[in-house]
């Protein structure tokens, strides 16, 4: 097997007496879609925050492409090729879809902060942005302000923004949450189309989607991974059925 892109070892994080992450170790291989499931309050989003650098773990390490990134700030992790989406969609409302995505392209460009060159007319930014917008099926909405998109479109936009970072891994924090059935199916198809090209860590509640998409499933309960493996064996695991699947039906 190839070297994993993302390796978490022994991550611990406590807020006061509450252990939200309790010795989590897992890895994501290149091209693998690793789903992380667990009941509400299991600490999934907190874990994603630690991986993306918005929270510091108390102990443990995060290795990305062979480098220890545990102490790096979010922007340096992003520059290293670790992209993320948010559980509550996070875009720039007053910028157009194209500008939102071009922002990501810009972050990887040679002069990301050029002071005098017009950004809106810059083909070196717009061309890759268009490619990402087309990949997520938002081409017709390219000039709409992000704040005016539907919920599912915002999710797709976030994924497009992540793609422009030319990421080695993408963290997806509940991309299907709050999205209607039709848009949900479109998003699942989108994730399916990205599968194999990027290492992805998918936090998701929608079991149907998880078992359809994932190569590996890990189950997080009270900050601890109680099971990990291919979808079929995780589904069959009695501990999982008791702790999680049983209670959610």
């Amino acid at each position: 097997m190839t070297e994993p892109v993302l390796v978490l070892s022994g991550l611990q994080k406590a807020f006061g007496a509450l252990k939200v992450t309790d010795g989590v170790s897992l890895s994501v291989a290149p091209g693998e879609l690793h789903a992380l499931i667990g009941p509400n309050g299991a600490g999934k989003t907190t874990l994603v925050h630690q991986i993306s650098g918005m929270l510091r773990p108390d102990t443990g390490s995060i290795r990305f492409r062979g480098e220890d990134i545990t102490g790096l700030p979010p922007e340096q992790r992003a520059q290293a090729g670790l992209a993320r989406t948010f559980q509550i969609t996070s875009t720039i409302p007053s910028l157009s879809v194209l500008e939102n995505v071009a922002l990501g392209v810009q972050a990887r460009a040679a002069h990301p902060l050029a002071l005098f060159r017009n950004a809106a007319r810059d083909e070196t930014l717009n061309a890759p942005a268009w490619a990402a917008i087309e990949a997520v099926g938002l081409a017709e909405r390219a000039h709409v302000l992000a704040g005016r998109l539907s919920h599912g479109e915002k999710r797709a936009l976030e994924i497009a923004m992540a793609l422009t970072l030319e990421p080695a891994a993408i963290l997806l924090d509940e991309p299907l949450a709050g999205v209607g059935r039709e848009e949900g199916e479109r998003l699942i198809a989108l994730l399916q189309s990205l599968k194999g090209r990027y290492a992805m860590l998918l936090v998701e509640h929608d079991m149907e989607a998880v078992f359809a998409l994932a190569d590996t499933v890990s189950v997080l309960v009270y900050g601890r991974v109680i099971a990990s493996g291919d979808p079929a064996s995780v589904r069959a695991d009695p501990a999982v059925r008791e702790a999680y699947l049983g209670e959610e039906g």
């Binding site: 992003a78 720039i92 071009a102 922002l103 017009n118 950004a119 268009w130 005016r148």
Partner: protein, 329 residues
């Protein structure tokens, strides 16, 4: 308002083709003012509008950080004051050459901006407002303590600056056009910056700093650069102000001046650069008219600000948009 209706979206950015109609109109009208004065408009207007344009430069620079970058600085008058004092002190010491004064003004303002910005930008929201206010007061008290240069009473200048030895600033109409030229140049510069890659990140960070940082940008460093640029432009307006009034005093940077600059920006319409200039002109004209009526003009002006905040949104440029005069963003 949105461009959603254009079904087959053109493959270029919507912003690319915009023409700043209002701004062109504004500068054309300003350029014609001396003509109007020669045709009989009271010459008092020439002085008033020159002063308004100088404050327009300061308001424009504040709009870059406040409107575009979302940093509510309540200490912006400090930069104007520093620019004015650096100018006043150099002229008093016998150095009138603008090409020597200006670099000094810009460097001092950049340094002050870098140091105070570095500390202030560690905070956000209410704390940022309070800290910028406090740093502004610090400079105010410092100027009061400068007994060698007038202290509390201020410093009267007996000469204006020269440019390469020429008395370019002596003639009122000449000075008017110098100020207009500087205003135009600053407007162009800030517009270019706002439309640049840097400006896009600055705008994005105003709305969603977290998103910008996980996209790979160091947000507070970008804000600091904008803060320094803004301070330097405000310093430039201080240089012009000292030359126009032939007097500098600590009052230039007292905190009500900073509040007035904020009001100019909001009056014109936050984030619309020509709005800041219109706001400055409207403010100074209103001040001039009201103070002509009564010495207690602030009793009228204060409630006007309160009512303006409570009942309008988007300032003068927003109002023009509603009436269809200016285009939407």
């Amino acid at each position: 308002m949105s461009l959603a209706s254009t079904a087959a979206a053109p493959r270029r950015d919507a912003l690319a083709g915009r023409r700043p109609v209002v701004a062109i109109l504004l500068f054309a009208l300003l350029a014609l003012l001396p003509v109007a004065v020669s045709l009989g408009l009271p010459s008092h207007w020439l002085t008033l509008v020159t002063r308004a344009m100088i404050f327009g430069i300061a308001a424009l620079s504040l709009d870059l950080i406040l409107g575009v970058g979302g940093m509510v600085s309540f200490g912006h008058a400090a930069f104007v004051g520093i620019g004015a004092y650096a100018t006043g002190i150099m002229i008093t010491e016998g150095q009138t050459e603008a090409l020597l004064i200006l670099p000094v003004v810009l460097v001092i303002c950049a340094l002050f901006g870098a140091v105070t910005g570095f500390v202030s930008l560690r905070t956000r929201g209410v704390t940022f407002i309070m800290i910028t206010l406090a740093f502004g007061q610090m400079v105010y008290f410092l100027a009061q303590a400068l007994s060698a240069y007038g202290g509390d009473d201020g410093l009267t200048l007996y000469e204006r600056s020269t440019v390469l030895g020429f008395d370019l600033f002596k003639n009122r109409i000449g000075f008017f056009y110098v100020v207009l030229g500087v205003l135009l140049a600053c407007y162009a510069l800030v517009s270019v910056i706002v439309a640049s890659r840097f400006g896009r990140v600055l705008r994005a960070a105003r709305e969603n700093a977290t998103r910008v940082s996980v996209t790979g940008f160091h947000v507070s460093r970008i804000r600091l650069v904008a803060y320094v640029i803004s301070g330097m432009i405000a310093g430039l307006s201080g240089f012009l102000l000292a030359n126009q009034t032939e007097f500098v005093s600590p009052a230039f940077m007292s905190w009500p001046r900073s509040g007035e600059l904020i009001f100019m920006v909001v009056l014109g319409g936050v984030g619309s650069l020509h709005g800041a200039i219109i706001g400055a002109i409207a403010f100074l004209v209103a001040e001039d008219v009201l103070s002509g009526w009564t010495e207690h003009w602030k009793v009228i002006f204060g409630p006007m600000i309160v009512l303006f905040v409570l009942f309008t949104r988007g300032g003068i440029v927003g109002l023009m948009r509603k009436l269809g005069i200016a285009r939407h963003d």
